[in-house]
């Protein structure tokens, strides 16, 4: 018995000691588990492309490209009216139509929120991809370039809308003082920041033609130059505008679409004229711009949408009767559309925005409608405008655009000719209000239509009140909106 006991004791002792040893030695390995998902610790070069893709994804949001953005960039201008039923305000769209919006209007808050959300995603992409040493250098540069292009686009829209805004480039450390986190940069500082991002993009992005077919839609050097030209246009930096637009024209990457109306059809997506457009897919599972077509679709019996953001009488009447762009831009009640759809007399409004019309997925939440952000015609118009300031060939580029629209050439185009051409060519492309302000004639033009544009106030939209509150008053309201 004693002997058995002793042996047993020995064995158990050995067993326990080895158990302890094993236990002690494998602590780190033990804690490794197969994760169900990627956690922040595990983000690596493999996620680089996804980080950038998610930044593009913001372009599909309601706040950045759809209902709220239309209120500011379109309904507020003389091109568009609120539309829809008189009783349906679209929350605050009726206010924008008569410039009666204020700092508490929901669209004001949403546009701010959406663009900063995009900036946050771009920052994540840029700051993380920078550290992925094992990623192919060329791809790494390109991806950062794409993200910077998008970040520049977001900041450009913010500076157009709100003036100087806080510049956020990192994940904010919520513990640092609010003054440093939320200080409003000046308008010039924001423009400078945008220009730096775009110059860096230009250095690394490829031409459109060098992208594989399945990568179409990514930012290109042409897009970055065009956007930089536009950013310069808004600062009256005419030499830069001229130089960059000449570059784009000479690149041979782009051309005008022969038939203007085709640009907004399915066949016109990413065509020769397209420099940058928001990609959308209508087929299920659909990935498109949130309710962009739906909110602007014809309303009422026989219609397919909510009927907001409709062409104004003033826009309609401004077109030359021979201008092909009028019917390509406007859906008329009683008209049969290019795809054979009849728009019955029972719809509520006399006109709708044809550029938002999706033929195949008419009333889907997310249609296949690609939104054109930058296209070759605008390059020509910017080229013409810069030339008219600096004394160059204005008629050449301008007439290319005119002729395509079925209009005759003009010989000595004036500044107002260039501006009008811009209006007709780019109607409903989210520029008109900012253009009027830039051209310094917003007050004249809008007041003549009875819209109470107030000089010293309406050049900018107000900073959302909720953001001012959350910033403990560090964010200061724009003049006239206090």
């Amino acid at each position: 018995m004693n002997r058995i006991d002793k042996n047993l004791n020995k064995y158990v002792c050995c067993l326990l000691i080895s158990l302890y040893a094993i236990h002690f030695s494998c602590s780190d390995k033990f804690l490794e588990t197969n994760a169900n998902e990627i956690t922040i610790d595990a983000i690596s070069a493999e996620q680089a492309v996804e980080l950038v893709n998610s930044t593009y994804n913001i372009l599909l949001s309601w706040q950045v490209s759809s209902f709220s953005w239309n209120a500011i960039s379109s309904i507020a201008s003389d091109d568009a009216d609120k539309g829809s039923d008189p009783g349906d305000t679209g929350a605050d769209k009726h206010l924008f139509d008569i410039l009666a919006h204020d700092a508490t209007s929901i669209s004001i808050a949403e546009v701010w929120e959406g663009h900063y959300n995009g900036i946050q995603r771009a920052n994540q992409a840029i700051n993380r991809i920078k550290l992925f040493d094992d990623l192919d250098l060329e791809l790494r540069h390109r991806l950062i370039g794409e993200a910077k292009f998008l970040r520049a686009l977001f900041y450009f829209r913010l500076v157009q809308t709100y003036g100087g805004v806080p510049i956020i480039t990192e994940t904010p450390d919520v513990n640092s003082p609010i003054e440093t986190l939320l200080r409003r940069a000046s308008k010039n500082e924001v423009f400078e920041f945008i220009e730096n991002d775009l110059i860096e993009s230009i250095n690394v992005l490829p031409e459109k033609s060098t992208y594989a077919d399945n990568q179409l839609g990514r930012a290109t050097i042409g897009a970055a130059k065009t956007l930089l030209a536009k950013v310069s246009l808004y600062q009256n930096k005419w030499e830069t505008v001229l130089e960059l637009t000449n570059d784009v024209i000479k690149s041979g990457e782009y051309n005008l679409t022969p038939n203007y109306e085709d640009i907004w059809k399915e066949v016109g997506e990413n065509n020769e004229e397209s420099i940058f457009e928001i990609q959308a897919k209508g087929e299920l599972p659909s990935v498109g711009v949130d309710q962009y077509s739906l909110t602007q679709g014809a309303r009422g019996v026989g219609g397919w949408g909510w009927g907001f953001n409709v062409p104004s009488e003033n826009l309609l009447n401004s077109y030359d009767p021979n201008d092909l762009r009028r019917d390509a831009t406007i859906i008329f009640r009683g008209e049969t559309l290019y795809d054979g759809r009849f728009v019955p007399e029972t719809v509520v409004n006399p006109m709708y925005n044809q550029k938002a019309y999706s033929s195949a997925f008419t009333d889907y939440q997310q249609t296949g409608k690609n939104i054109r952000i930058l296209r070759y015609a605008e390059v020509l118009l910017m080229n013409a405008e810069a030339a008219s300031q600096l004394g160059g060939d204005v008629a050449g580029p301008l007439n290319q655009v005119r002729n395509r629209a079925g209009l005759e050439s003009v010989n000595n185009p004036s500044q107002i000719d260039v501006w009008n051409e811009r209006r007709w060519e780019l109607a409903f492309e989210h520029d008109r209000y900012f253009d009027l302000v830039r051209q310094g004639r917003a007050a004249t033009v809008l007041q003549s239509l009875g819209i109470p544009f107030k000089v010293g106030k309406h050049e900018l939209f107000p900073i959302p009140q909720v953001q001012i509150n959350l910033s403990d008053g560090i964010l200061k309201q724009n003049p006239g909106w206090e």
Binding site: V12, C13, L31, T33, I43, N57, Y116, V165, V174
Partner: protein, 1004 residues
């Protein structure tokens, strides 16, 4: 020759001589303990003489003595017993009473035991005996009032556990429940533990005792130790009881005619209200005064509850193998018709002495439970449904109120809920102790716990549709629009949730006394655990409703319009820790204790995985000092401690995830490419909350230890509490959670016990405790902290808010100034800005009581035992949510009807009849103070000395909650739950019940 042996020889010699010289009488008997187990080796001698003997293996003895000799019986650990002999030679069973001596008391602490004498931490112990005096199904409910500073918010719902808060609420986003440790298994609750199996429960309250549980110690730890087999013949215990339950206090409701009067007044006021030009036509219909029905809905949905408990256990063994086995069955038919719960448990605990160095033991328990749940929303429906609605109309269809309100028919609601829940839980721990040398023991323990839970829910949507409105028929069930999708008539949902965890604990314990002066007790070890959770669910539509359906997802085929769907989820958590503790005591007078645990957890981001927790404590047994010799104190001890603890039960999103839900279509074919980013609803550094705690305690005993007690003062601070932040949209992140707050709990605990006997036949004890706790969100360290609102009562009104300087769970309401000349509420313009709006809400105190008090009185008189437990909690508020939720054409309390404002009888406190949603105001807030008789038990132990079978027969009667004094007008002021949810708000709550039991305890 030692003095003992010499005296023994003397005695023997003396006895021998005596025997020869005197013709003596032989007295015989058996010495037993209170459980009737024989006491072996008890000394029996004649007072003031050297004559004596010892009891044998069966506790029996024979003593030669004379009439009128005084016999003394002694045994270590038991009170001495003296009595005079008379003519009766057979002394029968003589019971020795166990000595209650604090010096020998052992307390169970984390990963070991400690002598109470040298304990330097705050630990409350409850003995299993105190739990079996009365019938209790759920062990944690039995803790109510038993330990100071342990607040139990009881729930009487079948199968439910009560909420346990130890030393105040220390977290708002994290888990609030304490950690439970059952024979070494770390677990979430003790619902599966048969109360009769419990030997002791230790409640660890301060950092000194909790630090060894590291990142799970912050909410306190409840250690349950189950009974083990005793050496000796197998003995059996049977406990059985039968009980009835009903609602303690019902709220009187308006009857049909009152309802009609009130509702018509409301409609009248509504139509005449200037401020409401768009009157809802559905509310503009006046009720006829001659109503056919007068339904009392609460009576229709409730019944007398019935509880039956059976428990049998067997214990026994030899010196090297001992076992304890038990089996129990509990069944409860709830007071809500159809609501039931039944539970069976089995336990087997074995101790096996393998060799002189090796001890093996295991504890295995199995629990099976079946529950038929019913929505407690039925209590709200029964409160709100109009008495003019019949249970069933003359055609036999469920009565409907769809024409005038949106309340379900409570009886239909009950009958149409077809749900079952089945639980299986296995717990087992297997332990090996290896004695390397006498004072050094190596322990290895492997434990497992697995839960297998299955939930079934059969929805008969057609039957529900038919019950809604008299006009509903099977023909109009489907939508008229041919394009609309078909509505399934029935849906069967099944889900299976598995939880499997294992623990491996390896530790060394060294315990040695040097020179009878220095006592060292050290523990060091490594523990690891893993927990895998898996969930699977499926559903199928249009399954046939058959009584033998048995929740089978296989019924119906895809061809006849059934649709299936399913899903699942899994998670794995792992923890790896080092533990250590060192106790040093000098002369058992000066004590020092240090403990340390390092935790590494896989469920935090890598950089924030490791955490260190420690505690230091010291004690001074001042009554052992020579200068205290003449003091009145039999015992006086001071102890002081400081330590840091963690709460790792933080919200489940505790790992920042790469969120892949942001695709974008590239290319001419518009192929969707995956997009991902960090949207971060939490901060990257989210990890456990760290609590630091100071404790100062005094233990004392006076008057020959008849009076003893403890006083504890503590300050407990959660230094990095997780709170929600609302960031400016400029940051581009969603609102998120971060460590930006500090929650403090400061309190005092007092417990006082008095034990005495008037005569040999009448002993009594009074154990009382009192606790005070002050809770506060004491600091917020970030500018973006969002005052979080909560306590929504589902009608757009919220009732609570988390705010700096306020206790957690504070009510934040409009302040009623009075009733205006139109009978409507007037609210105070708190900020004096000329208008009453959101900014005029103010704080009214928390639902968490700051004072709890209890007293436990035990009296034993001859064969009777009497136990009285009273409990109260004070200084808190409760919100009458069901009353505040009352809306158009719903029923009202009789009091509200009788006291309403009318033009003839303007009231200054109760508004006029109204059909609109009231703002959440202090009108609905009431005092939560209550005081009640938790338990009265009267038992009688029969004389079993003549019985050959039974060692003990006891019968008892118990009344629980027979008397409750409360100010709250609702069903119950005890409203457990989420502090940001319905805790402290009575809505869909289970009422407090009064229960009456009869039971027996048998031993043989």
């Amino acid at each position: 020759m030692s003095s003992k042996t010499s005296s023994l020889i003397h005695i023997t010699l003396f006895v021998f001589l005596f025997t020869i010289l005197n013709a003596q009488n032989f007295y015989s008997g058996t010495v037993v303990d209170e459980n009737s187990s024989p006491i072996i080796g008890a000394a029996i001698f004649i007072k003031n003489s050297a004559v004596g003997t010892q009891t044998d293996f069966n506790g029996e003895f024979i003593l030669e003595a004379n009439i009128d000799d005084v016999v003394v019986m002694t045994y270590i650990g038991f009170e001495d017993k003296e009595f005079k002999l008379n003519v009766k030679k057979d002394l029968g069973k003589i019971v020795l009473i166990e000595k209650i001596d604090f010096l020998d008391e052992v307390v169970v602490v984390g990963y070991g035991n400690q002598m109470k004498e040298i304990l330097t931490s705050s630990v409350s112990s409850v003995s299993g005996e105190d739990l079996t005096i009365e019938p209790i199904i759920n062990a944690n409910q039995a803790l109510q009032g038993k330990a100071a500073g342990v607040q139990i918010i009881a729930s009487d719902a079948p199968g439910s556990s009560s909420q346990v808060i130890i030393r105040g609420l220390g977290t708002i986003q994290g888990g609030r429940e304490p950690l439970y440790v059952v024979d070494g298994v770390l677990t979430n609750n003790i619902n599966n533990i048969n109360t009769s199996d419990i030997e002791t429960i230790s409640i660890l309250k301060d950092a000194a005792s909790l630090a060894i549980y590291g990142n799970r110690g912050a909410n306190g730890v409840v250690i349950v130790t189950t009974k083990r087999g005793q050496e000796g013949k197998f003995s059996f215990n049977i406990n059985s009881s039968l009980g009835f339950r009903n609602i303690s206090k019902k709220t009187p409701m308006a009857d049909a005619s009152s309802f009609v009067t009130f509702s018509n007044e409301a409609i009248y006021w509504n139509l005449n209200s200037d401020s409401n030009p768009y009157n809802d036509n559905s509310l503009s219909y006046f009720f006829p005064t001659n109503q056919l029905y007068n339904t009392n809905w609460l009576e229709e949905v409730s019944q007398l509850g019935l509880i039956t408990n059976y428990n049998i256990s067997a214990s026994g063994g030899q010196s090297d193998i001992k076992s304890f086995t038990s089996f129990s069955l509990n069944k409860e038919e709830g007071i809500l018709i159809g609501n039931s719960f039944e539970r069976a448990t089995f336990r087997n605990n074995i101790n096996f002495k393998v060799s002189n160095k090796i001890d093996y033991s295991h504890n295995i328990s199995v629990q099976l439970a079946n529950s038929t749940p019913k929505s407690y929303g039925v209590f709200t429906s029964a409160y709100k449904q109009s008495p003019i609605v019949p249970v069933r109309d003359k055609n036999g269809r469920y009565g409907s109120s769809i024409a005038f309100n949106n309340v379900a028919n409570p009886v239909a609601q009950l009958n149409l809920q077809n749900e079952k829940q089945r639980y299986l839980k296995l717990q087992g721990s297997f332990k090996l102790d290896y004695k390397i040398i006498k004072s050094l023991v190596m322990t290895s323990r492997f434990s497992i716990e697995t839960n297998y839970n299955r939930f079934y829910n059969f929805e008969n949507r057609l039957a529900k549709y038919l019950s809604l409105e008299p006009g509903n028929t099977i023909n109009n069930f489907q939508p008229t629009d041919p394009d609309a999708p078909e509505i399934p008539e029935t849906v069967l949902n099944v889900s299976h949730n598995n939880d499997y965890r294992w623990f491996l604990d390896n530790y060394l314990n060294y315990n040695k006394n040097f020179n009878e002066k220095h006592n060292i007790d050290a523990t060091i070890g490594i523990v690891a655990e893993a927990n895998k959770y898996e969930s699977l669910f499926g559903s199928r539509t249009n399954v046939p409703e058959e009584s033998n359906l048995n929740f089978n997802l296989d019924l119906g085929s895809n061809n006849d319009g059934t649709e299936e769907s399913g899903g699942g989820f899994s998670e794995e958590r792992k923890l790896y820790s080092y533990i250590s503790r060192l106790n040093y005591a000098y002369l058992n007078k000066y004590m020092l204790n240090a403990s340390y645990r390092r935790d590494s957890a896989n469920f935090f981001n890598k950089k924030f995985r490791h955490g260190n927790f420690f505690a230091l404590s010291a004690g001074w047994f001042i009554s052992e000092e020579y200068f205290m010799e003449n003091s009145p104190f039999d015992k006086l001890k001071f102890r002081i401690s400081y330590g840091e603890l963690g709460n790792s039960q933080i919200p489940s999103l505790n790992v920042v995830r790469f969120n892949q839900g942001f695709p974008y279509p590239f290319g001419s074919n518009q192929d969707i490419q995956q997009g991902g980013t960090i949207t971060a609803t939490i901060q990257e550094d989210l990890t456990w909350e760290t609590t630091s705690e100071y404790n100062f305690g005094i233990e004392f005993a006076l008057l020959n230890s008849k009076l003893n007690g403890e006083i504890d003062l503590y300050k407990k601070i959660n230094e990095n509490a997780i709170l929600p932040m609302e960031l400016p949209d400029t940051f581009g992140f969603d609102p998120f959670l971060s460590h930006v707050g500090e929650i403090s709990n400061v309190g005092a605990e007092l417990s006082i016990n008095w034990t005495d006997n008037f005569t040999d036949n009448l002993t009594y004890s009074i154990e009382s405790n009192l606790a005070y706790n002050q809770n506060e969100l004491s600091k917020v360290t970030n500018q973006f902290f969002a005052n979080q609102i909560g306590g929504s009562i589902n009608n757009g009104q919220y009732t609570k808010k988390v705010s700096l300087g306020q206790p957690l769970g504070s009510f934040f309401l409009y302040d009623v100034a009075g009733i205006d000349d139109k009978g409507q509420f007037v609210y105070k313009d708190v900020n004096n800005d000329g208008e009453v709006n959101e900014d005029d809400r103010r704080f009214f105190g928390s639902f968490i009581p700051s004072i709890t008090a209890a007293s436990n009185i035990k009296v034993e008189f001859k064969r009777f035992d009497f136990n009285l437990n009273i409990y109260g909690s004070f200084d808190n508020k409760v919100y009458n949510g069901k009353k505040a939720q009352r809306f158009g054409n719903e029923n009202m309390e009789k009091y509200v009807f009788n006291n309403r404002w009318t033009t003839e009888r303007p009231s200054s406190s109760t508004p006029r009849a109204s059909n609109s949603i009231p703002l959440s105001s202090n009108y609905f807030l009431e005092s939560g103070d209550f005081f009640r008789i938790n338990n009265i038990t009267l038992g009688y132990t029969f004389n079993s000395s003549n019985s050959k079978i039974f060692k003990k027969i006891r019968a008892y009667a118990t009344a629980k909650n027979s008397l409750i004094l409360k100010r709250f007008s609702g069903y119950t002021p005890e409203l457990p739950g989420n502090p940001l949810g319905l805790a402290g708000v009575e809505l869909d709550a289970y009422p407090t019940l009064s229960s009456y039991f009869l039971g027996v305890n048998l031993s043989f």
